[in-house]
């Protein structure tokens, strides 16, 4: 028989105009309270604003690049535009799907290796936000010990660690950063084990850390819990965790969060397509674009003028290029 995309997925019948943004999740999928959810938030915003039909599709475990490609192709064939792969794992898939469907705009989050006319690489300078988190931590610590908890020992998280460490050191050369990764692979639960996060944070707090920064997905909830229990500061990640329902109990211990606005990036790409000027090439979300940064929901944090000044200075230096933040 023909290929599945030739026969279409019931898509050919409907008019293409009614279909818009589609996203394909990375493992973790919807509900990860991290960038998958953020991407979904962007999708919802686009759906509401542009009034078109959207799609969001989950991956399967242990799938290959070919499967991811198939997913993207299938979405493109059905007329969705743009089609975004959430997560660097989609790199190969996006590249090949984009070659197959040159008229569709593709997006990929967290990867800058795909260079095609119809592909937008939505990447973020997480290290810049982490640098600011480091500044905030260094300014807030009384013990000169701060902690970093990484979910899984992979390059993406190394960026957070590198930025944070640099921020701390640049601000307070006497401060020491304790680093702890929870697991080697995601399968072992590094991003989804709050209990592990809690143990790790407790260990750091016992060694006098009084600010802990978690770049650990769902495990970060445990880090925040431990910080609250021991009355030290926690710094959240990805979204503004001060505002998260699940963490409402501990919000007074959440100093700030190093945000990465995947939602905005996704929405922007959708908007650019809608406006007829699709983004292409590397679209970097950084301090300058405002797609990464520190959340200011916690009043204690916001009202600490000295701290805010220091952050402001650091931010300007980064934007001006005076400070180059390391990525690993």
């Amino acid at each position: 028989g023909g290929t599945s995309s030739e026969s279409g997925n019931g898509g050919d019948g409907e008019s293409k105009g009614t279909k818009g943004l589609a996203i394909a999740y990375d493992i973790g999928g919807k509900g990860d309270q991290s960038f998958n959810d953020a991407a979904y938030a962007g999708l919802q915003k686009a759906e509401k604003e542009f009034g078109y039909k959207t799609a969001d599709i989950e991956p399967t475990e242990g799938e290959t690049d070919a499967d991811k490609q198939q997913r993207l192709v299938s979405l493109a064939k059905q007329g969705y535009n743009p089609v975004i792969g959430v997560g660097y794992a989609y790199a190969t898939a996006v590249k090949e799907a984009a070659e197959q469907y040159p008229d569709t705009t593709f997006g990929i989050v967290d990867d800058s290796t795909v260079q095609l006319k119809n592909v937008a690489d939505l990447v973020f300078s997480e290290e810049q936000a982490s640098y600011l988190a480091g500044v905030a931590a260094a300014k807030s610590t009384k013990t000169n010990v701060v902690g970093f908890v990484g979910g899984v020992d992979i390059p993406l998280i190394h960026k957070f660690q590198a930025g944070f460490e640099q921020g701390v050191k640049d601000t307070n050369s006497k401060a020491k950063v304790l680093t702890q990764y929870l697991t080697q692979t995601a399968e072992e639960g590094g991003f989804s084990s709050p209990d592990k996060g809690k143990s790790a944070a407790e260990g750091q707090i016992e060694k006098k850390a009084d600010v802990v920064y978690a770049a650990a997905g769902l495990s970060g909830q445990g880090v925040i819990e431990a910080a609250a229990a021991n009355k030290v500061w926690a710094i959240g990640v990805d979204s503004d965790q001060y505002k998260q329902e699940a963490l409402a109990k501990y919000k007074d211990s959440i100093l700030t969060s190093a945000m990465k606005d995947v939602a905005k990036a996704v929405y922007n790409l959708a908007k650019s397509v809608e406006d007829g000027k699709p983004e292409t090439g590397i679209v970097r979300g950084d301090l300058k674009s405002g797609e990464v940064g520190l959340a200011v929901s916690n009043p204690t944090f916001k009202d600490d003028t000295k701290l805010q000044e220091a952050l402001e200075t650091a931010k300007e230096k980064i934007i001006s290029g005076e400070i180059k933040v390391k990525t690993s």
Partner: protein
């Protein structure tokens, strides 16, 4: 004897078919219970199987499953439970990727070299289990579970930038392999490419059959599985056999990742499919450790994998396919066992009946003796 054979074939086919039907019905009940249409998901998934690109991907995926399951089956054939295939194939693939990235021989040398690397790595990793079992009596199950976990760490270590790791974007890889090590696929036009090493899977299957059924070694292996004590008394050194079986199983396991590595990704990255070793266990058991059975089981499994994502587009949860995989394994093995027991009892009864009726093979030239004996 033709009668017995025909019956055996019938039994062999009737069991799984019946079981599949039961599994489908049970799945339909789950769908019904959750308020969904109990039939449409199946029609969608069957329809998927008719598309050539899906077919290509089913075959590709099945080749990985097939090799992993063969590795498991070799162990099972002699009552060894190699739950460590997962670690063995990951390490094997990674080592092959590393060698492939750092060596560049002509293809006719490079590809065998990569395969040899994978085989040796897998065999080495499984060999640890074998040695521990033979010399120290450590259960192969625990040892392999531990070694799977240790393999994860080793992989993490090899990925370090100052070891063999090459960072590409946010991905850890082992660097692009030299092109001489790429195995070209079989071009199926718009449907995509079938991995060249699907042929390796086929060859391994044939080799497995020949070795198991047609060689002295295979006989020893089967005998060890059927009765360790009888095999030992017949001259099989059980320790050596365990070690050999583990080494072979591990060697084959090492190859399980190669079709996709040499045929598609050309690097070992965070995207490399994991968990195939564990699925291999289920598939081997589903295929009753026979090369043909495993082939069907791998294809069935791959079909469920590749056809289910489509369900998402139609408002169904594709987890239903995972439920179905579980149900299929359960109902198939239950039916195997029931049919097997029934068949055994039936055969015994028949032997008894045929003997009573005087249909004895050696009867005619033994009339005299029989009279004398009684």
């Amino acid at each position: 004897m033709k009668k017995f054979d025909k019956e055996r074939v019938l039994l062999a086919v009737a069991g799984p078919v019946l079981a599949l039907a039961v599994a489908f019905v049970l799945t339909a009940i789950v769908l019904l219970a959750s308020g969904k249409n109990p039939v449409e998901p199946f029609t969608i998934m069957f329809e998927q199987a008719s598309f050539s690109d899906i077919q290509v991907r089913i075959v590709n995926q099945a080749s990985l499953y097939y090799i992993a399951a063969l590795a498991v089956a070799i162990g099972f054939r002699m009552n060894l439970f190699n739950i460590g295939v997962d670690g063995q194939y990951l390490l094997g693939a990674m080592m092959a990727a590393i060698v492939g990235a750092h060596m560049d021989l002509p293809a006719f040398l490079q590809v065998p070299l990569l395969m040899l690397t994978a085989i040796c790595t897998g065999a080495f990793w499984a060999g640890i289990v074998g040695v521990l079992k033979v010399t120290r009596g450590v259960s192969e199950v625990v040892a392999s579970i531990m070694l799977n976990a240790i393999a994860t760490s080793i992989i993490g270590y090899l990925w370090l930038p100052n070891v063999f790791g090459v960072k590409v974007g946010n991905n850890n890889t082992t660097g692009e392999m030299a092109e001489s090590g790429w195995v070209p696929g079989i071009d199926m036009g718009a449907a995509g490419e079938i991995y060249g090493l699907v042929l390796l899977a086929v060859a391994l299957g044939v080799g497995y059959w020949v070795v198991i059924n047609r060689t002295r070694f295979g006989f020893d292996l089967r005998a060890s599985g059927a009765s360790e004590t009888a095999a030992a008394a017949s001259g099989v050194d059980p320790k050596r056999m365990i070690l050999t079986a583990m080494l072979i199983s591990g060697g084959v396991a090492g190859l399980a990742g190669l079709p996709i590595l040499l045929g598609d990704t050309h690097t070992y990255s965070l995207n490399f499919p994991t968990g195939i070793g564990f699925l291999g266990i289920g598939i081997a058991l589903l295929g009753r450790n026979s090369p043909v059975g495993i082939a069907f089981a791998s294809l069935l499994w791959a079909w469920l994998d590749k056809a289910s994502p489509e369900l998402d587009f139609h408002g169904y949860d594709k987890e239903i396919a995972v439920i179905m995989q579980g149900l299929i394994v359960l109902s198939v093995v239950v039916s195997y066992e029931t049919v097997r027991e029934w068949g055994l009892r039936r055969q015994q009864r028949r032997v008894g009946a045929e003997l009573a009726a005087g249909n004895v093979l050696g009867a005619d030239n033994n009339v005299k003796k029989e009279v004398a004996g009684r």
